[in-house]
């Protein structure tokens, strides 16, 4: 069920330079929120900026509250970063699809690139709660240590944790995709048992997609694009879709046919 509902800001926590976590109280949306979902927030009651902003859900208690984590990149996120406890925000959600389930005999590998941690963390938290007994690897990378905004949360995950930074200031120096390759080899993981769940910058997803296809790995990517409506009506948020290279490219709406797609389905330019 999708709702348009008013939410109340409970907290606005600064996680780093320009990075914020908003904790929102919104029972109808919180109750329905599942990993992979996003919400569409009206950041402003006036006309500029005009459109809502889409945010993957970082966490939800399943009852009353949900969390989003974002970086200030423009006017919409700048307005949101100034919200204070008690402020009201109109939400649409939860929207979009969810990550595929992980079987008890399977191995989950989560790849979180930069702010792409948001939907991946929510799923990792669910998969690792209450001694679920699942084998989970959590790989978290960013440009440098100061941009690993969610370290305090990931450290609490009951998963095997691996970190990477482009500059080597924390963990493995290099790309997450390189770390992934290294991990699969060093841990001798059976490829057919692996399920990869990833979100991050487009170049990372493009590299990961190629790697997953080349190695016949199950891999899901959560995409981020600008979306005016979030409900499938405006057709504005499409990506190029070509699961079968013998067929013509078609278009899929990220808001309602995604935001999660399988590696190899989406064409990255």
């Amino acid at each position: 069920m999708i709702y348009q509902a008013n939410s109340t800001v409970l907290a606005n926590q600064k996680l780093g330079e320009g990075c914020h976590k908003l904790i929102l109280e919104c029972p109808p949306v919180a109750k329905e929120s599942r990993p992979g979902h996003f919400i569409h927030i009206q950041v402003n009651p006036y006309c500029f900026p005009l459109l809502r902003r889409a945010f993957s859900i970082y966490d939800s208690d399943g009852k009353k509250t949900l969390e989003v984590v974002f970086k200030v990149v423009g006017q919409g996120t700048s307005l949101l970063s100034k919200k204070e406890p008690g402020d009201q925000l109109d939400l649409l959600g939860p929207l979009g699809n969810n990550f595929t389930e992980l079987g008890s005999d399977e191995i989950g590998i989560m790849l979180a690139g930069g702010l792409g941690i948001v939907p991946v963390y929510f799923y990792a938290k669910e998969l690792t709660k209450e001694n679920a007994g699942l084998r989970i690897y959590f790989l978290y990378g960013a440009k440098n240590r100061s941009e690993l905004y969610c370290l305090n949360d990931t450290d609490q995950l009951q998963a095997k944790l691996f970190y990477s930074t482009d500059d080597g200031s924390f963990g493995y120096q290099g790309y997450l995709t390189q770390l992934l390759e290294k991990l699969i080899k060093s841990e001798n993981l059976p490829l057919e048992k692996i399920k990869i769940y990833a979100c991050g910058p487009e170049p990372m997803l493009a590299r990961l997609s190629d790697y997953a296809v080349a190695n016949s790995l199950f891999c899901e990517l959560s995409l981020e694009v600008g979306m005016p409506c979030g409900m499938g009506t405006c057709m504005g948020c499409v990506v190029k879709y070509q699961p079968d290279k013998n067929q013509e490219i078609s278009y899929k709406r990220v808001c309602c046919e995604g935001p999660i797609f399988k590696a190899g389905e989406v064409v990255f330019d």
Partner: protein, 305 residues
């Protein structure tokens, strides 16, 4: 005035109220059903439909601008046949009127598209897209010439008995000439304005942002243009006008109505607040009560009198 009359009859079609949702901003009607009580709206106008399904333009298709947005979707749609089979059953269960919006690449295609709805129950009106700026063939190509507008509307009128609403483009030298041509050809009413041609450039990549290079500007940024065009066209034609362009709330709707619109359409505002149209209906009712106006019709064009 305890119970003011919001109803309006346009081209013989009775609408419970004068608030419609604009083509392309409300999908096929069912997408917003979980959060919008569609029964409260005067009419749902479908996304533009064509004889064959269209994939639309490659991304990027939309871009936000000051108090507005650009779009170049490229008339992506499922085609008339699938719409009739998959979407009309839902729309028929709704109290509101159903307006189908159609387009073609040739006059023959427009007429053929119109004729497809002749035996389809529940289609109350047909809006003719002769104004989208985002396709190479058809649409604005017809709507920017009085002669081609006349020929297109005349051909459609010959192909269907469903009342015809011609949707006009603001990207013309004289919208009143186009409006009069549509009226002469037999259009039962007019809707205006479609989007204004605009463009944005990614200064980092030094390339246009939209894959189509240009797009259509919509949103509150264009409202004064739409109000002015409604004002001008009202003075030149006798058929009713449905006004649109940047309507975000009751005040904006009243501007169009006072300029001469018999009804209004809510477009881009649906993305900001999907319930904008429902709120305008409620606001209009309050407005009539508070101002002791018995029926909505009395407000049409009062700024012109």
């Amino acid at each position: 005035m305890t119970n003011p009359d919001l109803a309006i009859t346009i081209a013989g079609v009775k609408f419970d109220n004068p608030v419609m949702v604009a083509s392309g901003t409300f999908g096929y009607g069912d997408e917003y059903a979980p959060i919008v009580d569609i029964d409260q709206i005067g009419a749902v106008v479908s996304k533009t439909l064509t004889l064959k399904p269209r994939p639309g333009h490659p991304p990027i298709r939309t871009f936000e601008t000051p108090a507005g947005m650009l779009n170049a979707i490229g008339l992506a749609n499922i085609g008339i046949d699938r719409f009739i089979e998959e979407k009309m059953p839902f729309l028929r269960t709704k109290k509101c009127r159903c307006v189908v919006n159609i387009a073609g690449q040739t006059i023959e295609e427009y007429a053929e598209a119109a004729a497809k709805f002749n035996d389809v129950p529940g289609v109350h009106m047909m809006e003719i897209n002769i104004s989208s700026p985002n396709v190479k063939k058809g649409c604005m190509e017809f709507g920017s010439s009085p002669q081609l507008t006349f020929e297109c509307i005349q051909a459609i009128k010959g192909a269907t008995k469903i009342p015809v609403m011609a949707k006009l483009s603001p990207n013309v030298t004289s919208i009143t000439d186009i409006a009069q041509a549509a009226e002469e050809a037999g259009a039962d009413c007019l809707s205006l304005i479609n989007t204004i041609v605009g463009m944005a450039i990614d200064i980092r990549k030094k390339r246009p942002i939209l894959s189509n290079i240009t797009g259509g500007l919509s949103g509150p940024a264009i409202r004064p243009v739409g109000v002015a065009m409604t004002w001008k066209v009202y003075q030149k034609v006798k058929i009713p006008i449905v006004g649109m362009g940047g309507i975000m709330n009751l005040q904006d709707a009243l501007e169009y109505i006072f300029a001469g619109a018999s009804a209004i359409q809510v477009g881009t505002a649906n993305y900001v607040d999907p319930n904008t149209s429902v709120k305008i209906v409620a606001g209009l009712k309050n407005y009539l009560q508070e101002n002791d106006v018995c029926c909505f019709k009395e407000l049409i064009g009062i700024a012109q009198k």
